[in-house]
């Protein structure tokens, strides 16, 4: 792992990301923007006062084609940037700790860890019909003592992840505080 050095004897148990469906929802604005230059001339024709403006969307001219190419390039690059951020945001469970990696934007990255012996409570919640059907939910991990709380949002199979965390919490040696 490049975000943090694994301790001797430590290994990654699972790496989790947001459910892919939530990522697809994030892509929806980009899909709409990509379709817009093709849909707009057709929609303008339907509204008679606006119909003359449809002629501006002629992609067979050099300028129209260049404009369309640039528009699609910008939308595509934005969508790929969204995928990059989706992929670089992850939760990593090792046999000794839970780490959250938050890539808020480029050059803005937060990595925080919670040692498993400090975990006091693990809560899962699945709200809504779609989340229940697709088994997408949140997990809240609370630590003992200090007010540290890790929340993983929109992860697939949250109960399975919770069980896995609890399994390794019970297996981790408790700190004596000495």
């Amino acid at each position: 792992m490049k975000e943090f050095e694994l301790e001797p004897g430590e290994h990654v148990v699972r790496e989790a990301r947001k459910h892919w469906l939530l990522f697809v929802v994030e892509l929806l604005p980009f899909a709409i923007l990509a379709i817009l230059p093709f849909a707009l001339p057709r929609l303008l024709v339907l509204a008679p006062p606006m119909a003359p403006y449809a002629a501006y969307f002629d992609y067979h001219t050099v300028l129209g084609r260049a404009g369309l190419g640039v528009w699609l390039l910008v939308v595509w690059t934005g969508a790929w940037g969204a995928f990059t951020r989706y992929f670089l945001n992850a939760w990593v469970l090792t046999n000794q700790r839970i780490a959250t990696i938050k890539q808020r934007r480029f050059f803005y990255r937060e990595v925080s860890s919670l040692l498993l012996p400090r975990v006091q409570d693990v809560t899962t919640n699945v709200h809504g019909i779609l989340s229940s059907l697709l088994n997408i939910g949140n997990i809240k991990v609370q630590s003992a003592g200090a007010e540290i709380e890790f929340t993983m949002r929109g992860i697939p199979l949250p109960e399975q992840m919770r069980d896995l965390i609890l399994k390794y919490v019970s297996a981790a040696p408790k700190s004596t505080g000495v």
Partner: protein, 95 residues
């Protein structure tokens, strides 16, 4: 209140005259080309930054290189389309 009459606005391109760039001001067609190059330069910077993040933080995931390859292929196809109308594989889907 100043007692001078209001001066009419001048075109921003008058700045080129002041800076003695008027001789090198590109024609309309060339302006489009330069605008395209400016967009491509922005794209290049963005792509380099994103690739840097993929290489540094994706933990050598198998998905990193296919993702970058697809991005570069689609982007070059769209750039080619903007410049010449040939978008490789995507030509049949574009006007």
């Amino acid at each position: 209140m100043p007692d001078q009459p209001l001066q009419p606005f001048t075109s921003p391109f008058a700045l080129f005259d002041r800076l003695r760039f008027s001789g090198s001001l590109p024609a309309d067609g060339e302006m489009v080309i330069w605008a395209l190059y400016a967009v491509f330069a922005f794209w290049a910077v963005y792509t380099i930054v994103a690739i840097y993040h993929w290489l540094k933080y994706s933990n050598a995931s198998w998905i990193a290189f296919p993702s970058m390859a697809i991005h570069l292929y689609v982007s070059f196809a769209l750039m080619s389309y903007a410049l010449s109308g040939n978008a490789f594989f995507f030509s049949k889907y574009l006007p």
